[in-house]
């Protein structure tokens, strides 16, 4: 493939949300960058912190309330994608867990690792994983609350300094 544009050599990916479906795009982009030989930094902030907290990273959920695109998951239940997924059904206890379980099963089939294993893989691939200082303060977290793959805690300024020359991607 010919490409006259300068190839991307560095990316900084921000993950600011903590739903299972909201964390994966950041993980896939970071890992995919390393697979292409692109330097990658992965920065978790705000509710995205859930993905790097020991207490929560294994239990991220798919939001089934107020998620108007959830009917995309219908084919996983062998139902047509045109069937709507009403928010009221999403609010029934257990539905979010069931949706999460289904999505995880589907991902395992596609060889997409669970969040913890994925973060380990991304870290081993040489990407830097960082957490946001302000989010740490806001959610009353200490370094000990975070998984060991988190390399450090950064202020916004430090994040920008680390992102010098990188394309910044907000997910």
């Amino acid at each position: 493939m010919s490409n006259t544009q300068e190839p991307i050599s560095r990316v900084s990916i921000i993950c600011a949300k903590g739903g299972l479906d909201e964390v994966y795009p950041a993980l896939i982009l970071a890992n995919g960058a390393r697979m292409e030989g692109i330097e990658a930094t992965l920065f978790f902030t705000f509710f995205g912190m859930k993905a790097v907290m020991k207490a929560t990273y294994e239990n991220l959920k798919v939001a089934t309330v107020g998620n108007s695109a959830l009917n995309l998951a219908m084919p996983m239940m062998k139902m047509p994608v045109t069937i709507p997924f009403p928010t009221l059904i999403g609010a029934i206890p257990g539905v979010s867990s069931l949706s999460t379980w289904m999505m995880k099963r589907e991902m395992e089939e596609l060889d997409i690792p669970p969040v913890g294993e994925f973060l380990e893989m991304i870290s081993d691939a040489g990407a830097g994983i960082f957490a946001c200082k302000l989010a740490m303060d806001m959610f009353k977290l200490t370094r000990d609350d975070l998984i060991p793959q988190v390399e450090g805690v950064l202020t916004v300024g430090e994040f920008y300094a680390k992102s010098a020359g990188a394309s910044i991607i907000f997910t």
């Binding site: 493939m1 896939i28 890992n31 995919g32 390393r34 697979m35 292409e36 030989g37 596609l110 060889d111 997409i112 690792p113 380990e120 893989m121 081993d124 691939a125 040489g126």
Partner: protein, 105 residues
Amino acid sequence: MPEKIIAGKTVNVDDEGYLVDYKEWTEEMALEIARAEGIEELTDRHLLVINFMRAEFEANGTGPSIRRLNKKSGVPTKELYQLFPGGPAKKAARIAGITKPQGCV
């Protein structure tokens, strides 16, 4: 389809230089392709990965994902990136003479 002479043998390659028919591959070619990719020597660990990729390709028609590579070949992710700097799955696929891996993970 472009042709290329690798290790004295004329083979068909695609636009990005991946071998079109993995059966045309020889171990001598692997070393020549590796050197063009900046890997001077192929160690036993390189060969372990390369042979695993070829076996996977033969069985599934496509190269493995990094995760599969790591789990089934037993070579840790860190080492994969050290062995094939700048993109293990693609570099190893190129050296192993199989087509470009299509997966996203």
